[in-house]
Symmetry: D2
Subunit: 135 residues, 4 copies
């Protein structure tokens, strides 16, 4: 069961076409990632207090439909892959079973001192949960 982050779509996020403007999906994904970590027992500030942070290096988004203001949107998020210094999350933004957007992001783990790449910390890996498929 992937973790699901609830999103309250804001009025201001819908554009003249009446649908959520594309950039706000990246705001939702960021919130969902933080939510996943918290759900796994690691708050993002704790991660940083441990001397580590993550940096986004790649994102892919595929839109298959709209999200609209007032819709009860959910963002599913799950771990897709783990490398030595990086990991990938997959996401689906949906209203019920209607998927508006799927996405995948790749993060690298870095030290907060100097921002050099490090192996993905154990505490972070544990919080990300198992590798799962959203579909």
């Amino acid at each position: 069961m992937p973790f699901t982050h609830h999103v309250d779509v804001r009025y201001l996020e819908a554009d003249q076409q009446g649908v959520v403007f594309n950039m706000w999906y990246l705001a939702y994904l960021d919130d969902a990632m933080t939510g996943l970590l918290a759900h796994g027992g690691l708050s993002y500030p704790e991660l940083m207090a441990q001397g580590w942070d993550v940096q986004l290096v790649h994102t892919e988004l595929d839109w298959t439909g709209p999200l609209r203001w007032g819709e009860p949107a959910e963002i599913d998020v799950a771990l897709a892959r783990v490398g030595t210094t990086s990991f990938a999350l997959q996401f689906a933004a949906r209203v019920g079973d209607r998927v508006a957007c799927t996405a995948e992001t790749v993060y690298v783990a870095v030290e907060t001192e100097g921002w050099t790449k490090v192996p993905v910390p154990e505490s972070l890996l544990a919080a990300l949960g198992p590798i799962e498929s959203l579909r």
Copy 2:
């Protein structure tokens, strides 16, 4: 002659009513304030390098009409008042002579160490230019 900051209204800033959503005006005012300082010979990073910063403590906005995507918008900005540790700027957001919003903001000067109030620094005062009326 007040300083005028040009704004390119973004598509995403217009909401379902086809007009710029209210919060983006605060983005425009912030840009215009930075532009006023730069015009006066002081970049905001320089101000901070001198050990000072400003904090927003009050803003008032009055909307009299819309701004729309693609309109050539201008933000007039001028110094309205100077106190001991604070100063006020006034703004008008307009397209040609049609004013969409007038605003006034009050900033206090602070030290970047400890964020305590300080008298408005000379370098900042000089950059803000003379007290002027926008109307």
Copy 3:
């Protein structure tokens, strides 16, 4: 008892000073207004379906402290005044008892056809609840 809208401060809303950038408060107020109406039994889309909308004509904000990412923020909102074609809401954004920002906004009621001012509709007035003081 005023209505309280919960806000999840987003990572992206905190600026280089580590505090929520001023414009996002207007996003929070807009959310809180919609929440107040829904709490009073009138969804904003319903209001529009009845042929009415509201337009923001004035906002005043006073900041007395910061909001930070991850803080459990609450936005109190209550009806402050009712005029013939307008009404005012007051707001307080706080974390527990620590108030970060107080605000007041004035809206005018308009017809969705032609955007002319109208007396504040009964259904809207009923949803706004009683006039209350936040302090």
Copy 4:
């Protein structure tokens, strides 16, 4: 020579790490796309007046470094591919020769009536310019 769109990075777009938060790159790409069309002699509102619009169906972004507030950022944009009902643009966001982000987006052409896919209109194709490589 690809078209280059100048971006004034806003103070509010830099996050607690002091770098532009990822979602704002999608704002920059959208601005750059509109700029490319205008440069090619077709304003986006004209396109819509002709009965056509475009919808984003896919975006990929790769970050190789930061953008910071006050940096003179440029967004290069060029046509990458044309299909029957879709076309792809490629982008590079950079400061001088230092590239912060490369991206590719795929749009489909639609009718503004009913939002059904249509062959990419001639007027749009002409405005997009030749297929070019950014690297």
